[in-house]
Symmetry: C3
Subunit: 338 residues, 3 copies
Amino acid sequence: MKKSLLALAVLGAFAGAASAQSSLTVFGIVDLSVNNVKNGTVSQKFMGSNQLNSNRLGFRGTEDLGGGMNASFWIEGGMSNDDGTPGGLNFQRRSTVSLSGGFGEVRLGRDYVNTFSNVASFDAYGANGFGNFSNIYATAPAGMGAGATTAVRANNMVGYFLPGKLGGLYGSVQMSAGENVAGNKYTGFRLGYAAGPVDVAAAMSQTDVGNPNKYKVFNVGASYNMGFAKILAQYDQRKFGVLKYTSYQLSTNVPLGQGEFRASFAKGNAEGGLTKNNDATLLGLEYIYNLSKRTALYTQYGRLNNKGTSAISLGGSVTGAGTGFTSTGYGAGVRHIF
Amino acid sequence: MKKSLLALAVLGAFAGAASAQSSLTVFGIVDLSVNNVKNGTVSQKFMGSNQLNSNRLGFRGTEDLGGGMNASFWIEGGMSNDDGTPGGLNFQRRSTVSLSGGFGEVRLGRDYVNTFSNVASFDAYGANGFGNFSNIYATAPAGMGAGATTAVRANNMVGYFLPGKLGGLYGSVQMSAGENVAGNKYTGFRLGYAAGPVDVAAAMSQTDVGNPNKYKVFNVGASYNMGFAKILAQYDQRKFGVLKYTSYQLSTNVPLGQGEFRASFAKGNAEGGLTKNNDATLLGLEYIYNLSKRTALYTQYGRLNNKGTSAISLGGSVTGAGTGFTSTGYGAGVRHIF
Amino acid sequence: MKKSLLALAVLGAFAGAASAQSSLTVFGIVDLSVNNVKNGTVSQKFMGSNQLNSNRLGFRGTEDLGGGMNASFWIEGGMSNDDGTPGGLNFQRRSTVSLSGGFGEVRLGRDYVNTFSNVASFDAYGANGFGNFSNIYATAPAGMGAGATTAVRANNMVGYFLPGKLGGLYGSVQMSAGENVAGNKYTGFRLGYAAGPVDVAAAMSQTDVGNPNKYKVFNVGASYNMGFAKILAQYDQRKFGVLKYTSYQLSTNVPLGQGEFRASFAKGNAEGGLTKNNDATLLGLEYIYNLSKRTALYTQYGRLNNKGTSAISLGGSVTGAGTGFTSTGYGAGVRHIF
C-alpha cells in the first residue's frame, strides 16, 4: 500500500497553470530481526533494524505542473526501530526537490551518490544484510579516503538524471560544492544500459578530502535475468594516493514460489601501500518468504574471512576479536513496508 | 478522529495473497497546561506538556495478510510541546513490528515493559499528572536498580502476547538481549483476568544492571467498575540486593456527565538498607471536562509529603528545597488528541 | 494542495457534542537554491535551504467543537534540506494547542513572538533571503540583549489573539514564564488595523535576560497595496541599557503576470554606547516565477555595506573577512510547498 492522498486542485488564480494533480505519500519500512554474530571466539546476540531493508520514514510528493513538467520533493529519514532511533529523526536518507520533464530531472539536495547507487543495483541483497557487498568494499583499509563523507550519500548536491525513454540508456551527473568542509566536495557520473534481461552500468566519482590526493571510486556491474534466476556480477576499485582496494562480487536471486533465495560470494583485495595482502572474502546466503508484497519473513547467514590486519565484522561488538578473525552471523526477522 | 487512510490494494502479483486491506494512521496528542509547584518554601511556575496524557506523534498501520493473520507496525515519539522538543523527534515511545493471528501476537522492538504496563493500568491517572503513582514508585531511593534503562520501556525486545479471546485471560512475556549494555537486559511477564466490571493482573520483571544483584520488580493490581465510579488498588515492590521499596495506591475515576473526577492516595515505604523510613505519601485530585471525545480541559492538585531523606517533587525545580519537604502543585490545561 | 484528511465523525458517546468535523493536514516546504556570497575579498558558494521560504515539515489540525468553538493543534519543525537536517527534527518552528471561538483564540506553547510577527509582515520578503530586514535588525551589536532566546519565537507561551471580525482591528498579547532560565521570560503585545489596501501595526516586547536591564523591542510598520504594486515601510528599535539599535526598511512587491518582483532598502543605526556609528545598509532584489501556486523558481541579489565594526554577512563563511566589509550575494533556487 502507498498512502497516497490524491488531490485535484483547480488553481483558478493561475492563468498559465489551469490545473494541478498532486499527491503526498507517507511511507516507510520497519524491519527487525534477531541475530547472532561470532567474531573469532567472541559472540554477540543483537536485534538488527536493517538486515533485509533499511528502516525509514519518509514523505514524498509530486505536483503535475502541466505540459509534461513535474515538481517533486522527497524527504526520508532512517530509523533504528530496535531502540527508537536515539539521536532523532533526520531526513538524511534523502532530502531533495526536483523539476522533471522531457529533458530529464534536475534534483537538488542530499541524495545517494552515483557510485553507491551503481554498486547497490548489482548486489542481490541491495545493500543490506550479512552477505551484502558493502561489508567488503566499504570497510577498506584505514586511511583510505579518510574524511570523505560521500561514500553513500552527499550533501548539497546538484544532480541531473537522463529522462526515462532513451532506448534503455540511463545515467546521471552529480556535483556537490564542498562549502568549506573537507570531504564534502563530490563529483560523479553514472551511465548504464538496460533492455530485456540485460542491465549493465558503470560509475565514477572523486571526492576532495582536503588532501593533494583525491578519493577516487570506480565501479562497473552487470546482471542477467534468466527468469528462474537472476545473476549479478560487479567490480569496485577505490584509490587514494598509493592506497588501492579492489573488490568483486558474484550474486544471485532465485524466486521460489512466494519466496526468494539469495546467495553471494565477494572478495576484497588490498593492493597498495602497507595494507597489501590484508584481504577478505565473504559468503552470504538468505531466504525470504513473502507473506504479502509488503510483509516478509527472512533468515540469513554470512561468513567473512579476514586476512592479515583486515578486521571486518558482520555486526555486533568486536571487542577482543583482534584482526584476521573469521566473522560468522546468522539471524531471522520480519520486514514490513508501509 | 483517527486519520486512517484505508486502501484496498489488489496485489495480483501474489498467488497466495489475493488481496490486502491496509491502513496508515497518523496520530498524536498535544497537552499543555499551566502549573505551579511549591517544594518546601521554593515555588515555580511551569508549562507542562504531559499532565493529563503524554504528548506524542505517531504513525501506525495494519496489513491484513489473509487467513486471520495481520502484520502491524507502530512508531511513536514523545514531544515536549511547551518548547518544541529540543533534542529531536525519536520514536522512543514505541517502535515495533508485529505478526498476529489466532495464536496471539509476536512483537519486536522498543515497547512498554510488562511491569510498567501493569502499574499504569491500575492507576486512575494512567501515568500522568501530579497524583499518578509513578511519582512515588519511580523515585525510589538512590542506588535502587541504578543503571537499569527498563523502568518504563526496553529496547530490542521480543514479546509474545496472548490472543484476545481466552475468556478474559490476558498476558505477555517479554525478553530483551542486553547487547553488551548493562541495564538493558530485561525479562518479564504479566498475567491478568478481566471480565465484566472486574480486572486483576500481576507482573514481574528482572533487569541485569551489570551487578551480581538483579533489579527485580513485582506488582499486582485490581479494579472494579461500579458504574457510577471505578475503584482501583495496586501494590508495587522493587528489590535490589538489600534495598527494598514497596508502595501502594488507591484511586478512583468518577464520571460526572461530560466530565470525570479522579482522586488518589499513595504511599511509598523504604524498607531496606540505609534508606529505611525515607517514606513518602501522595494525595492527588483531578477534574476533567471533555469538550469532545478528543479535546478536554482539566485541572489538577497534588500534595506529596516526604520523610527523612526522601526528596520527591511533583515537578519544576527543587534547587534549595533540600529533603523531607512537602511538594504541592496545582495546574490547569487543555489536551487535544489527533 | 493541502493534504487535508477530512473526517465526519459522529461521536455518539457525547450528549453535548453531537458531531465533530475534523482535519489533519501534513504540510511543508522544500526550498533549495545555489548561492554565492562574497564578503570583502572572500567568496563562497553554498546551497541554501531558506532563501525564499523557510523549509519545514508540519502537522496541524482543527476540531469543530460545536457552538462556534474550535480546538486546534499545530506542530511544525524546520528542515535543512541541503543536508537532511543534522540535529534531528524538532517542532521548534511552532508547537501549539489552541481553543478558539467568538472570543478570539487562546494559544499555548512555542510560537512566533509578537515583535517578530510584526516585523516579518511588513517586509516584502517575509523573513527570508538576502534582502530581508532581519539581516539588519537581528545582527545588532554584540552584548545587545545577550542571552535572550525570544528574538523570533518563545517557549512556554500563553497567548491571546483577538477574533477575526473586529472591523479590521487585530492584535495579541503573549506571555512566557521564564521557568528559571534567563532569557526565556517574555511579555509582548501587538495591535494592528487592516482594511482594504491599508495595513498598519505596532508591537512591543520585553525579555528578562537575568540582568537589571531588560531587552526591549519596539517596531511599527505599514503597507499600502496599489494593485500594480504593494509598498511597505517599517521601523524597529532595540534597547538594552545604554545600547540602542534602530533600523528601518522600505520594500515593495510588484506582481508581473505569473511572477513577482521584490526590491528593498534597509539601514541600521547603532546609536548607543561604544557601538555608535557601526551602521549598515542593505539593498535587495528578487524575482520569483511561479510555475504553480506551490512551485516557484527564483533568483535574488543582495548588497550589504558594513561600517566600523559592523560585520554582517548575507550567508556563508566570514573567515578572514574582518569588519566593515561589503557582503554581496546572488543565487537561484526552486521552492516547493506541499
